[in-house]
Homo-oligomer: 178 residues x 2
DNA sequence: CCAACAAAAGTGAAGGGTCATTCATGTTAT
DNA sequence: ATAACATGAATGACCCTTCACTTTTGTTGG
């Protein structure tokens, strides 16, 4: 017989993932210890292992919830707004740092690679929906480049700090018209 | 009085950096132990610490020598050749994996960030040299997007495996004409 | 030219820490 | 009362770094 409801369990799980998310963002996966997650979450060591069987599982959980927003239209304004959103996330929450950690880990772990690849595919599909009047091959090539520039922008933000999105907006528009 | 020549010392140092490069590429920074570098290099633990004072210093040395080639011209053929070069390096040597590690670490370490930022600036400068008849502002925006697509392509290769460079070549050409 | 010596280079076992994970015990809700 | 849930000290493995010791090389005095 369960002692608490599912919503309680979900809240606890989220508490752990949020704490891990915070520490992973500021210190990276390798430099974040279980003790760090314990401290940040306010739970106990043993309690965390009731919800996750290993640190790796927590890493996966954090990567899975990493859904950024998508652009809503392919006008200059909408695209620029989207990049400004990415920029703000990087500035205010260090999100680009976390993304860089995720890509590095995904490059080593097939499990994570599959998760990230699926998220990238979802974003490409979302962008494809917004492209009018093109051959399937064109759409595929355009979305591929589009998403690469967006994640590339995030990568640059992670390493070089705040950057004006203007060159990237311009590049994205050029690709759409090419 | 030195017991061996400078060329000997240089060779030893290279031996260490090469060993570290190999292991860092296949297992990442965090999952590569000093013992791994010892094994891979064929030297002893103590010997390595004669050439580097810490593991972090070896990481820096590996990052510093990470100079990819630059594109030599901005024709479709030259640009495509360049991307094929990046692709081959990723396929044959797992180079994209190492680059992903470097970006992740640079996102956390100001020292590494400075090194990577300088390498990116060098590549932007090299590309800028190839752009004819544009305003300085245009050149800056174009090179920014150009380099981001190239490193973004590497990032995608790291996570998703081998990818045809065609969409990226096309995007790069579109940017140059935008 | 050779033998002793000194300094450079190399070695690897051990120190000192950190860290992920477990488990015996305590607490709470039904 | 009992089973779910929580706790955190203990465990055992791993890992970076050091250092006392050995080997090698260049030098020097006879």
């Amino acid at each position: 017989m369960p002692k608490v409801g599912q919503s309680y369990l979900d809240a606890r799980r989220k508490q752990i993932v949020d704490a891990a998310h915070t520490r992973f963002t500021s210190h990276g996966f390798a430099r974040t210890s279980m003790a760090d997650i314990v401290t940040e979450s306010g739970l106990s060591t043993g309690s965390i292992y009731r919800y996750f069987t290993s640190k790796d599982e927590i890493v996966i959980a954090v990567c899975e919830q990493g859904t950024e927003a998508f652009p809503t239209a392919l006008t200059v304004e909408a695209v620029n707004d989207f990049l400004e959103h990415v920029r703000a996330l990087a500035r205010d929450k260090g999100h680009a740092r976390l993304v860089a950690q995720i890509y590095a880990e995904a490059a080593l772990s097939p499990t994570l690679a599959a998760i990230v690849a699926q998220q990238l595919a979802a974003m490409r599909a979302a962008v494809a929906e917004l492209i009018p009047d093109r051959s399937p091959n064109d759409v595929e090539q355009i979305t591929e480049a589009f998403v690469t520039i967006c994640s590339g922008y995030s990568q640059q933000l992670a390493v070089r700090g705040d950057l004006d999105p203007a060159p990237f907006t311009r590049a994205l528009m050029a690709i759409l018209q090419g």
